[in-house]
């Protein structure tokens, strides 16, 4: 598939935004400037950005606890996102959600999710809305390899298949559910093999190749509108620990280094330069812009007020 220069540049920018956003967040955590925990997706930017870049604002996504890349991929106001992580009133959730609950309903982002597998069933409902309202859109349900072992995975894929709902179930398989490798949590190599059990198509792709992810999702959008759901497994790897408390005792430095060598952002940059789509100067300019965007987001967030205590009871009920 021929991807426009504009779209390629956009994907490069969004991957960099994601990386730099998370680097900022990691720094803030290390400085004790934000509380709670956060789950960083460094190394996994291609699957999130590639998939979301193939979507319209009117398409829906359900995200995960490791959802910063999905938010940024779907189009997000970085200022409001950073403000949310710092617990400010100007954040996406007015400071009530934090890292694991960023949602942007206007752009079809139905929310990150603190429960592993929590988005499976919600994606079915969102796709049911599309079907019943005869809207020509799709739902992308992101989840990890760990969530593929939740009961809701089975219920959701089965029902989506029966009702032929337009859902792309995208498993971002980063090889570990917290500390446990997939070899110890499932007796198959590919999560996508489970598609057969639901009578749907399953494909395995290189989750570190943003172009392959984008092209797969573009093609699958039409497929799911005609045929019902598809299960796409994007193989990738999380460079950092599961969360901020992770000492990485369950994997080797060599393994982590081997995946860092497969950095999805460097890979896209090389592709863009080698094929003379962008010059090095143009790419440097994009990178510089993303650094500035993040500086502005941090400034916005840090200058924003904390939510007033008067808001604590607000928004429990509509």
């Amino acid at each position: 598939m021929n991807i426009s220069k504009e779209k390629l540049g956009e994907m490069y920018e969004k991957m960099l935004h994601t990386r730099k956003f998370e680097e900022k967040v990691a720094y803030f955590f290390s400085m004790g400037m934000v509380h709670g925990t956060t789950h960083l997706s460094v190394g996994e930017e291609a699957s999130a950005v590639g998939a979301c870049s193939a979507l319209e604002d009117t398409d829906f996504i359900t995200s995960t606890h490791r959802g910063h890349g999905h938010c940024i991929g779907k189009g997000v106001d970085l200022n409001k996102m950073m403000a949310e992580l710092l617990g400010r009133a100007t954040g996406y959730c007015k400071g009530k959600g934090g890292s694991m609950h960023i949602a942007d309903l206007e752009r079809g982002n139905l929310g990150a999710n603190g429960v592993v597998g929590g988005g499976h069933a919600i994606s079915v409902g969102a796709a049911l809305t599309l079907k019943m309202k005869k809207q020509d859109n799709v739902v992308v349900c992101f989840f990890g390899d760990g969530a593929a072992n939740e009961g809701s995975f089975h219920e959701a894929l089965n029902l989506a298949s029966i009702w032929k709902l337009p859902i792309l179930f995208i498993c971002e398989n980063n090889m570990y559910g917290m500390s446990v490798p997939t070899s110890k949590s499932m007796n198959i190599i590919n999560v996508a093999d489970r598609a057969a059990g639901y009578g749907i198509k399953g494909v395995v792709i290189d989750g570190n190749d943003v172009i392959e992810v984008y092209n797969t999702v573009m093609e699958a959008k039409d497929y799911v509108k005609q045929n019902g759901p598809i299960l796409i497994e994007a193989k990738t790897y999380r460079w950092l620990g599961h969360s901020k408390s992770d000492a990485n005792v369950y994997r080797t430095k060599e393994e982590i280094a081997s995946w860092k060598a497969k950095c999805p952002i460097k890979r896209l940059r090389k592709y863009l330069e080698d094929n003379h789509i962008f010059t090095a100067e143009e790419l440097d300019a994009i990178e510089k812009k993303t650094t500035e965007d993040l500086e502005k987001a941090v400034e916005f967030a840090q200058n924003s007020p904390y939510p007033s205590l008067n808001t604590i009871l607000e928004d429990v009920y509509a």
């Binding site: 829906f60 359900t62 954040g91 996406y92 959730c93 007015k94 400071g95 009530k96 959600g97 609950h101 949602a103 309903l105 139905l110 929310g111 999710n113 603190g114 429960v115 929590g118 499976h120 069933a121 919600i122 994606s123 079915v124 409902g125 969102a126 796709a127 049911l128 809305t129 599309l130 019943m132 309202k133 009961g151 809701s152 219920e155 959701a156 089965n158 029902l159 029966i162 009702w163 607000e314 928004d315 429990v316 009920y317 509509a318």
Partner: protein, 325 residues
């Protein structure tokens, strides 16, 4: 007005709202051609078709979660969970997803869904098909909890629940499905959070809901002959709770008995008792607030055991007499 059953009241509420609003639809196990395990939706499949009366697989988690997902994206789903016992399988979707979306997204989401389910004992179905789990839902901010006791209330409250922009758990009572009552033919709704004084009295207040309401009313009629006038107040919705009406009645009679079928420990009766004790009604009380609830046991099978696992006319009478003596 004409006489219809509790089940018919529920069906009318759903059908009328579905005729009025194309975003309303019903889904659940065997709700289609079969008409629902308790026959509540008989005829709806024929009227609305399989698109809007959707049979689902036996998958209580995705039924509840898909309702939340459809609701947050613009539909107004009614999801049926055949027995309230099986809502335990739906709990993540209901508690962690549907109830939380609005607050944790900073007020941006609306989740207008109704989860209908059948609760209560008395059918000989034993421990896994007979529970009264309403207190579980009441413990989750973001959910509303409704338990109707008459055909009139069932219809009016369900219409309000469907029109409500929040997730509402609507607990129907198996033993009331075939009970009849007068219900208007014209459109009406009963606002959630409005209690109903089912019988006025001056000597003692019974606060009760669901299928214990007719039982308590029978006791009230019996004891009236002995000169004891009982006021029976049905909150109808536990969340939101019409505290004002309950407190007013407690102040009026000075004696309060709370009756529910759910087990006593951790039951909603404790919440009502504490709420009254915390209120100005405390100073009007002539006796301790008493709770008469289900025993702290799983519902047993043998008919005599089952009957005595929950309050009966006899035990309610005894409790009333112990308070008015």
């Amino acid at each position: 007005m004409r006489e219809i059953t509790y089940a018919q009241g529920i069906k009318e509420a759903m059908s009328e709202e579905m005729r009025k609003d194309e975003n309303v639809f019903l889904m659940g196990e065997d709700v289609g051609l079969y008409g629902g395990a308790f026959g509540v939706s008989v005829g709806m499949f024929e009227e609305f078709g399989e698109e809007r009366v959707r049979d689902t697989p036996i998958s209580e988690a995705v039924i509840a979660g898909a309702a939340a997902g459809a609701a947050v994206t613009g539909m107004r789903p009614i999801a049926e969970i055949m027995f309230s016992d099986f809502t335990t399988i739906s709990m993540d979707q209901l508690v962690n997803q549907a109830a939380k979306m609005r607050y944790m997204f900073g007020g941006k989401a609306k989740v207008p869904m109704v989860l209908r389910t059948a609760g209560g004992s008395g059918t000989g179905a034993a421990a896994q098909h007979s529970q009264s789990l309403e207190a579980w839902f009441c413990h989750v901010p973001g959910l509303k909890v409704v338990i109707p006791s008459t055909p009139y209330d069932a219809k009016g409250l369900l219409k309000a629940a469907i029109r409500d922009d929040n997730p509402v758990v609507f607990i129907e009572q198996k033993l009331l499905y075939r009970k009849k009552g007068m219900v208007p033919e014209e459109d009406y709704v009963i606002e959630l959070g409005t209690a109903d004084v089912k019988r006025e009295g001056k000597d003692l207040t019974i606060i009760t809901y669901g299928r214990m309401v007719p039982t308590c009313l029978k006791v009230a009629e019996d004891l009236s002959k002995e000169g004891i006038e009982i006021e029976v107040v049905d909150p109808r919705t536990l969340i939101p709770l019409d505290k004002e009406t309950l407190i007013k009645s407690a102040k009026k009679t000075g004696r309060v008995l709370i009756v529910h079928e759910a087990v006593k420990t951790g039951g909603f009766g404790g919440e009502i008792a504490a709420m009254i004790a915390d209120s100005e009604a405390f100073f009007y009380l002539d006796a301790p607030i008493k709770r008469l609830c289900g025993l702290d046991i799983p519902i047993p099978y043998c008919p005599e055991l089952e009957k005595n696992a929950v309050p009966t006319e006899e035990t309610i009478k005894d409790a009333v007499l112990s308070l008015v003596k």
